[in-house]
């Protein structure tokens, strides 16, 4: 038993179902100041904040919203791991008071973990508005934990919550033990006996229960520790119980928990019938937007508007950014000359750093606008519905409805797109969604298309660019089919879609902007770190040996290009500049354009030089290659982090290179034959 000393920071974790107002409580506690990072090893967002109250410092962690702690999804595993390994002083279980029975289910799991708990009945304002009554004392008695009423939205009850956190932090609570009835209790006891001496942060009873519930992660952990006997005992007890009583143990355990919750809620909560005779506005909108006839056209229209705005508005800003970096690069090189800096330093700063990073930042407006619009649609509540609207189409491809979100994000940047797959709970579906995402044409590919189409396809530029986007989608779909058909672990039916739908609401401008910024900053980080490093590598390869002309044939880059170039003969562009551009494009696709600029003696000369090297056909084949092979280093990095497997990362890299090469060759060869 630990007591809180003065000056010690009390750690508080917020746990709760999705949509219970957990983040409003987080903001109310911390005043909205949050440090947003990632959970170690995964890219689920981790929100941390701190506050002071009565001379006491607190640190608050917002756990991912979950329905239970079974470990089915990454979110649940993170929440569970954090609770048992980091042992926060207090866990506040945030619940929606208007929907208590359902919300208390998670609390039962927390109780079984044996942590210090506070039950926060949030959204109490709405509950009271409906003339509901709660007997706090009765709930406190029944559960053995303090209960606080709050409204995160109206900022009430927060002081009380802080007081309760201080009071709860120091002591271990004695809670109720959830009684599963004599038969199951006997089974739990038998399994627990086999766990004697196990070294685990979890309570033994919790482990025993999870074995009986068939929790794969826990079972594997127990096996790793050599307690196979306990697992076998679990299997034995389960089949015995199931044979004897004809029920399914797992669901029986869940029902017992609900039974307990129901009896507590019935004793302590009065809820008048909520006169819901007429449908809420939100429900009416749902009838239209998820309608069998209107659903897909409405979705298509929304996406069309989104992309129109992204590219028209984004293009406006891009010109300014381009002009700014041109000016800045000139300014710095002038200044460097003045202070007599060696020419290689001057070249490093102007060509390498400013030029390189500038070429990436040009997409920032595009990406920010796209993510702003998508965040708006998400915060309004539409995206969740769209997942259902798209579910049937996605199913036909072999993907779950939710994966369309990552595909749409992919048009902005593949990095946040791959990260967004974490909301897909089935690992198999998630992996497949990640593997096809690199083929979605992100905004960094657009400048490559614009460069070539602007010079060689002036008459039907739009059509050619559109065909490339379509080709990307087509390759993604066919690859999904191929993977599903050939790779054993990706086989099997798509997991069905079930998801809570938040009510439609007008989001706060700030909320949408924060949401947009969280995604865009991933792109900026990529520009700041990986691309920056990449730019230095390019500059180095282009500058050395120092005797050679910058990025000339004799430079390291030129020699490398000459070595690779012959491979691209069947694709129609067997010269070293193209090979170098593609090679550097691995760092980031937009670098392809900059590289051509450098290699052909300045971006101003490209209009004259490109037609000398490329025909329409070989330019198209080159654009196809640019579209399909490895999106960029950052995307490789994120694929590794999200799949947590070098094998799948390597597979994705090789597959995309191969797909790009073969498609480019195919197009060039067929084209040459026909034309």
């Amino acid at each position: 038993m630990k007591t809180i000393e003065k000056n010690k920071v009390i750690t508080v974790a917020l746990a709760g179902n999705p949509n219970t107002g957990k983040s409003t409580i987080f903001n109310a506690l911390t005043g909205g100041r949050a440090h947003v990072g990632n959970w170690p090893g995964v890219t689920v967002e981790k929100k941390e904040g701190s506050f002071k109250y009565n001379d006491q410092s607190f640190s608050v962690i917002d756990l991912p919203g979950t329905y239970s702690l079974t470990g089915y999804s990454i979110d649940e595993r993170i929440a569970r791991d954090f609770i048992v390994r980091k042992r926060p002083d207090v866990i506040v279980s945030v619940t929606d008071s208007t929907n208590l029975e359902r919300n208390l289910y998670l609390l039962t799991s927390l109780i079984e973990l044996g942590v210090n708990l506070i039950l926060d009945l949030n959204m109490i304002d709405i509950f009271e508005e409906r003339k509901g009554e709660i007997d706090i004392k009765k709930i406190e008695e029944a559960l053995g934990i303090p209960v606080v009423l709050t409204s995160g939205l109206k900022n009430t009850g927060i002081e009380k919550l802080k007081d309760t956190i201080i009071k709860t932090g120091g002591k271990n609570q004695g809670y109720l033990k959830i009684d599963y009835g004599p038969d199951i209790e006997k089974a739990i006891e038998n399994v627990e006996l086999q766990l004697a001496g196990i070294n685990s942060p979890y309570p033994k009873r919790f482990l025993a229960l999870k074995i009986l519930e068939g929790d794969i992660e826990i079972i594997e952990e127990i096996k790793r520790q050599g307690f196979d006997n306990a697992v076998q005992a679990g299997v034995y007890e389960t089949s015995k119980l199931e044979k004897e009583f004809g029920f399914d143990l797992e669901t029986e355990i869940i029902e017992k928990r609900y039974g307990l919750i129901q009896s507590i809620v019935r004793r302590s909560v009065y809820k008048p019938a909520y006169a819901e005779e007429k449908l809420s506005t939100s429900d009416k909108i749902d009838r239209i937007l998820t309608n069998r006839w209107l659903g897909i056209p409405v979705f298509a229209l929304m996406m069309w508007i989104t992309f129109q705005l992204t590219f028209t508005l984004g293009g406006l800003f891009a010109d300014y950014i381009d002009a700014f970096f041109g000016w800045f690069s000139g300014l710095s090189s002038g200044w460097l000359k003045e202070i007599n800096a060696p020419s290689w330093i001057s070249s490093f700063i102007s060509n390498g750093i400013i030029g390189g990073v500038g070429s990436v930042l040009i997409f920032l407006p595009n990406i920010m606008i796209l993510f702003l619009l998508l965040s708006f649609l998400e915060d309004v509540g539409y995206m969740a519905r769209a997942a259902f609207v798209m579910d049937r189409i996605m199913h036909a491809i072999g993907l779950p409805g939710r994966s369309f979100i990552s595909i749409i994000l992919g048009f902005g940047c593949n990095v946040p797109a791959v990260m967004s797959t974490r909301t897909i709970s089935s690992e198999k579906d998630r992996l497949l969604t990640i593997l096809i995402n690199p083929f979605i044409s992100c905004s960094a590919r657009l400048p490559v298309y614009l460069l070539f189409t602007g010079i060689l396809f002036t008459k039907n530029q739009g059509l050619v660019v559109f065909s490339l986007y379509t080709l990307g989608i087509l390759v993604a779909v066919l690859s999904a089919k191929l993977f599903k058909w050939t790779i054993p672990i990706l086989k099997g039916p798509v997991s069905p879609l079930v998801m809570e739908l938040p009510p439609y609401r007008i989001p706060s401008a700030l909320g949408v902007i924060i949401h947009m910024w969280e995604r865009s900053s991933l792109f900026l980080k990529k520009a700041g770190t990986i691309i920056f490093a990449g730019v230095i590598v390019i500059w180095f390869l282009a500058s050395f040996p120092l005797s050679a002309e910058y990025a000339g044939e004799a430079s390291l880059a030129g020699q490398l290009g000459k070595f690779i170039a012959p491979i691209f003969r069947p694709a129609g562009f067997p010269f070293w500049q193209a090979a170098v551009a593609l090679f550097f494009g691995i760092i980031a696709k937009e670098i392809v354009v900059g590289t051509f600029g450098t290699l052909f003696g300045g971006e101003g000369k490209l209009a004259a030089v490109i037609p000398v090297y490329f025909s329409q056909l070989s330019a198209y084949s080159f654009m196809v290659m640019s579209l399909l092979y490895i999106p960029c280093i950052a995307s490789i990095g994120v694929i590794y982090r999200e799949t947590n497997s070098w094998k799948w990362t390597a597979f994705s890299v090789f597959y995309s290179v191969l797909a790009g090469y073969l498609t480019a060759v195919l197009i060039y060869q067929i084209g040459s034959f026909l034309l």
């Binding site: 329905y67 399914d248 019935r266 449908l279 998820t290 259902f388 579910d391 069905p496 809570e500 009510p503």
Partner: protein
């Protein structure tokens, strides 16, 4: 009868669930279990079935909704 046949606007009580373990468990944890009262919000025959559990709206694919068995119900009085 399966939830897929339920008209929007009416209330139903869940009687049983069919399907794989993971599926049933997921629904249970989200609050859809035998005995619970649902209101069908939207169901156009294709596309999702949206059900209401108090204030919460849960979307289910047609396939999933077909595995949830319900009986019609009309509750007007308060639940204590």
């Amino acid at each position: 009868m399966p939830l897929t046949y339920c008209k929007p606007g009416e209330q139903f009580q869940v009687t049983s669930l069919y399907g794989g373990q993971g599926f049933i468990k997921r629904l249970f944890e989200m609050g859809i279990h035998p005995g619970v009262i649902l209101k069908v919000i939207a169901n156009s025959g294709k596309g999702p079935v949206i059900v209401g559990l108090d204030d919460t709206r849960i979307g289910l694919g047609q396939g999933m909704a077909g595995k949830i068995m319900v009986k019609p119900l009309n509750i007007k009085e308060g639940v204590r």
